[in-house]
């Protein structure tokens, strides 16, 4: 066969033309229905704020603190082995960064309780990560979409390198999608996480947390590959998760056509340490959704519970 590439595109055109397209009024109704669902979500959030209803003992705010959010489904709870679905993450060969680390800094402004030094609490440090170390989403958040495909476990931060990578004993990672509680089964996910668990050599896990915090500080803004926008990074109050934790956001204006006018695409990343184990939950969105702080907090609590149950 000998054909021009333009001939192939013509064939593609013929093939595409055989696909039925919806009538315009159907598209308009679909768009308006989507908008109403979003409005309903916002109205619920405002009602929560005005009513002064505490969610899990505190009010939950979105990443920029500008608007309250509806609570995510359910509260985190210990995960009984063999009862709830068991995640099956695979080992991840990818590493967060290379070998040269940033200048160490011992200041930990976000920590809200004394940190347990790494390597001090576990008599027999773990050397492998079981499936049960991975949290299970609340039932109303589950989509059934989970992948063990490889990939980075942290977003790029101005070419930051992490010296603590040399102290990694084992790492496993997965990607998992979630939906909002009110979305029916089969809906397009509301977001997704890159979720990793890493065992460090005794006493080195706090280096990983410290290096990550320092990397965020050292990278207030950056450009991403294949993205002309400028992303800004900043540390947020991490709350109490594990022995110590880091929470930061990546924020950029939506590109044209995505999100509401003037809105920002926000990604949230939380890393927390329990003994010599560091868990990273990186909210990656789904088709340009923005991370919701309340959802990330709730799933972080689930992640902490799973790690603590595993480590005993």
């Amino acid at each position: 066969m000998s054909a021009e590439i333009s001939d192939l595109y013509r064939s593609l055109t013929v093939s595409a033309d055989e696909v039925t397209v919806a009538r315009p009024e159907v598209v308009r109704r679909h768009a308006d229905r989507q908008a109403r669902v979003r409005m309903a979500g916002s109205a619920l959030a405002v009602a929560v704020l005005l009513g002064g209803v505490a969610v899990g003992g505190r009010l939950a705010f979105s990443a920029d603190g500008s608007a309250p959010l509806p609570p995510p489904a359910g509260a985190p709870a210990p995960i009984p082995s063999g009862v709830t679905p068991t995640p099956t993450p695979g080992p991840s060969a990818s590493s967060a960064a290379g070998s040269s680390g940033p200048t160490p800094s011992r200041t930990t402004p976000g920590d809200t309780r004394p940190a347990t030094p790494t390597g001090a609490a576990t008599a027999h440090p773990p050397t492998s990560i079981p499936d049960r170390a991975f949290f299970v989403l609340a039932a109303a958040n589950r989509t059934g979409l989970e992948s063990t495909a490889g990939g980075p476990i942290l977003p790029p931060l101005c070419d930051a390198r992490y010296a603590s990578e040399s102290a990694v004993v084992q790492r496993r990672a997965r990607s998992i999608a979630y939906k909002t509680p009110e979305a029916p089964a089969g809906s397009v996910p509301a977001g997704s996480y890159r979720h990793s668990i890493t065992i460090y050599r005794p006493g080195r896990a706090d280096d990983a947390i410290r290096e990550l915090r320092q990397a965020v500080r050292a990278c207030p803004e950056q450009k991403m590959p294949d993205d002309s926008r400028t992303w800004r990074q900043r540390l947020l109050d991490p709350g109490v998760y594990g022995d110590e934790s880091v929470l930061f956001e990546l924020r950029s204006p939506y590109p044209p056509g995505m999100g509401d006018p003037g809105a920002y695409e926000v990604r949230l990343v939380r890393a927390f340490r329990v003994d010599d184990v560091v868990t990273v939950l990186w909210e990656q969105g789904w088709e340009y959704t923005a991370a919701e702080r309340a959802q990330v907090d709730a799933d972080s609590r689930r992640a902490v519970a799973a790690i603590e149950n595993w480590l005993g």
């Binding site: 000998s2 054909a3 595409a16 696909v19 919806a22 009024e25 598209v27 294949d226 340009y288």
Partner: protein, 169 residues
């Protein structure tokens, strides 16, 4: 105030082309339907302003590209997605040439697929593709050149035309 009639006219006039474009950048009928419908839904939600846009079709292509790229990234990462999201709606079997091309396009980076589609489906000059993708002209030339080279390697029986005059001017 959004004028439904003008939107419907716009939709009827552009939805076919957008489906072709969606198919070229996603490589899948169902994905193309989803992405194009979502792009038009976003267009309708902003129709009050978009109707006054100097190039609403270019805006729409941009949205289709971004949605497709985002979905493409997810599909790479989420190998189980298709197997767990239920059967796709019935679509006619594509022609043999279309299958060949789509199979090859799937192995190209999204930016190259987008540039090739804009060139071959919309006959856009390099400068306009650069404006639409918000990148320098040289970058688009590189995408087209590399995309064609890669297609040539993937489709050895297909004659890949050289860069045309308006591609390199």
């Amino acid at each position: 105030m959004r004028d439904a009639r003008s939107f419907d006219d716009f939709y009827r006039g552009t939805s076919r082309r957008m489906m072709r474009y969606g198919y070229a950048v996603t490589g899948d009928h169902t994905e193309a339907q989803d992405v194009v419908q979502e792009a038009f839904a976003r267009a309708w939600r902003q129709w009050g302003r978009l109707a006054e846009h100097p190039a609403p079709e270019a805006w729409l292509r941009l949205v289709v590209s971004r949605l497709a790229n985002d979905r493409w990234r997810h599909l790479h990462r989420w190998r189980v997605l298709l197997s767990r999201s239920g059967p796709p709606p019935t679509a006619p079997p594509p022609g043999e040439d279309a299958v060949l091309l789509v199979g090859a396009l799937r192995q190209l980076p999204p930016a190259q697929r987008q540039a090739l589609a804009l060139h071959y489906l919309f006959d856009l000059p390099v400068e306009e593709i650069a404006r639409e993708a918000d990148v320098p002209v040289g970058t688009v030339k590189s995408w087209l050149s590399r995309g064609r080279s890669r297609l040539a390697a993937l489709l050895p029986d297909v004659h890949i035309d050289e860069l045309e005059a308006n591609d390199v001017s």
